[in-house]
Subunit: 396 residues, 2 copies
């Protein structure tokens, strides 16, 4: 009688949640210090000090009815203008304040974009490995996900498979770079290849295919040479879904935006559809205080030094121990090849050493595990000998 799909979704614990509960139980048994939980992608470094400074200043200086009052549904005009100016400056983006729609974070950016673009029966292409909730969001708007694999050695999209997967029903392709769960960054060549395929298919089918670029990890890259190309510069029909959750370590505050650049086909209709979708889903406006905080702190990042150190330690330690893993340029995840076919079995074996990893199956990739290194560095230092012992179990 209820919406059974919703009940099932609410009841089904995600694998990550299962591990979280196990970690809690196990910590009670042997002490939290002896449990190595690498399951959760929750920023472990504080927000930059400018965030709390901005909160204090804005609260002190802004009259209450303005500060805590409704902004326009799209977001405060001054906030949007400032963020758009930064996008133009940083990426040469063809975007004005009126092309931005402030959201309650990346998940809202995605559900609103999908609702704006999709009709029931449309297809949305996901590229494995992908963030597990994409499936929920796509199905939630009555569309159907079509999963395309990646090249096993690079975890970049399998372009042949992508081209084949696109049909006259394809409304959108979602990409995520830097990638959760792999940490891989889509380079310029990759974006050019995707753009070429989508452009070709648009012409072939006479349809519009939108690229939805989910980029909460944009600023989380650790090598000077790593550049995260700005997708709309390669393919006009791109919607950028951004969130400040990871860059500013603010995942609980729910603040982000959708950018519908000027070059998007039927720009005004798409932007209007985004507004209509936000309204339909019950998003009245993004939280007003944090809209202003985001505008003041746009472009800043939390201290990424910890993540870089963690990545280097973990990547080096694991490869030395014999594990195999694509070098992660960004985000705070490693996607490690499971030394046995069944990643669940491997995760069970890791548990014996109190190492808690997430099987890649939910990310659309069997035979891998995700290791979230947004933890205290000391945890990694103490975990590495355990990983070494785990690796030895697989030496024949």
């Amino acid at each position: 009688m209820l919406n059974g799909q919703m009940t099932a979704l609410g009841k089904k614990r995600s694998v990550i949640r299962e591990i979280f509960e196990y970690a809690k139980k196990r910590s009670g048994e042997i002490g939290a210090d002896n449990v190595f939980d690498f399951s959760i992608g929750n920023p472990s470094v504080p927000a930059p000090k400018e965030v709390n400074e901005a909160i204090n200043r804005i609260v002190a200086e802004t009259p209450s009815v303005v500060l805590h009052g409704y902004t326009s549904a799209q977001g405060d005009k001054g906030v949007r203008d400032k963020i758009a100016a930064n996008l133009r400056k940083r990426f040469g983006a063809d975007v004005q304040g009126d092309d931005l729609y402030m959201t309650c974070g990346a998940a809202a950016s995605l559900t609103i974009s999908l609702r704006a673009l999709c009709n029931a029966g449309d297809e949305v292409v996901l590229i494995a490995p992908f963030f597990a909730e994409y499936k929920v969001f796509v199905q939630g708007v009555g569309a159907r996900e079509v999963v395309v694999g990646s090249c096993p050695s690079t975890l970049l999209p399998d372009m042949l498979a992508l081209e084949k997967a696109i049909t006259p029903k394809t409304k959108a392709v979602i990409i995520n770079s830097p990638n959760n769960p792999s940490g891989v960054v889509y380079d310029e060549e990759t974006l050019c290849a995707i753009a070429k395929i989508l452009t070709k298919k648009q012409a072939e089918f006479g349809t519009d295919i939108y690229l939805i670029c989910d980029e909460p990890y944009r600023e989380l890259v650790y090598d000077a040479k790593t550049i995260v190309p700005y997708a709309p510069n390669y393919y006009d029909n791109t919607l950028v879904c951004y969130s400040y959750s990871k860059s500013l370590s603010l995942p609980g505050e729910r603040i982000g935006y959708i950018a519908v650049g000027q070059k998007v086909k039927d720009h005004d209709d798409v932007y209007a559809a985004v507004c209509g979708a936000g309204r339909t889903l019950g998003y009245v406006c993004a939280p007003s205080l944090f809209q202003r905080v985001a505008a003041e702190c746009d472009g800043l990042t939390a201290d990424l030094g910890v993540y870089k150190k963690n990545r280097d330690l973990l990547y080096e330690g694991l490869t030395k121990a014999g594990f195999s893993c694509v070098y992660p340029d960004g985000a705070f995840y490693l996607f490690v090849k499971s030394p046995e076919e069944d990643a669940y079995a491997f995760c069970e074996r890791a548990k014996k050493y109190e190492l808690l990893l997430v099987p890649g199956d939910d990310f659309g990739c069997k035979g891998f595990v995700r290791i979230a290194y947004c933890v205290a560095t000391e945890r990694i230092e103490r975990a590495l000998p355990l990983f070494e012992r785990l690796a030895k179990e697989y030496v024949k």
Copy 2:
């Protein structure tokens, strides 16, 4: 090719928005001081001082990764426990912290509840006058709204019509008390009558019918004798959708909750469906700082003295001038009978006096106008002579 319904929704300016734009234009022409905009339901009194104090204290005392980190999807456990304890204390509510689901405000509470309960083709009963966005939310989950009228002299539900409107397809009835746009409070007798009808119809059809009680205006009542009964105490199958927007003057911050009391039929399934619906719509968690602020300030209100004074002045002035209006016990709206059949024509005539009112048609009631009195009292004092002159135009 896009979702045309979303584009249309995004492009269609609401009547209130039209008036807002007109007010801006007109203010430019004759000065804001001479334009009397009664269109917007935006709190005009500051948040209680405890709100900003709580923000400052919480920010100073809470480690950043906790303060700004993800809470559980349902909301922080301590926050939910505290709010539930208040509900038990204030209303004898049969509700625990684990029965609450924190949301991004009332609109989110409604869209999540509707998504949790409804399947495509279900019917949801609205009682006119109703908040115009209800239609958008109901249609947004693929359900169909069935509108029931009110008794013209009380603006309380027409119980005969309500009983007739309920079919085997009825999944929910939405009520809103204190009411936007009428200010009317549903008294105990009204709730008992609704409960009786729903109970009877559940038995007759062998279905479950949920009462969704939208109550952002709960605390906004102005007479000591006015009691807003707690709906779940009259009908078990009730979901309470609450928001702190109006009570704490925080509409931009988007914070509220859904309460699924212990007596709701299939409680665990309904609560799980709420969680699933929140996930599907992209609500990861309610804003974390304001969850904590809400818990600390739950039960407080902004200074309601201004609203009471405004209500008294306006109600007395308008009825003395010859207008007809049900006495508004709460919220910050008067729903005035239009002295001519066409409320749009009446609003046009009011414009000549720079009085900006909202025709009742969008609230499901022709022949009425809504006057939002959440403005500075001085505005009302200066507007009353203009209302008097407007009234005289209708004296034959």
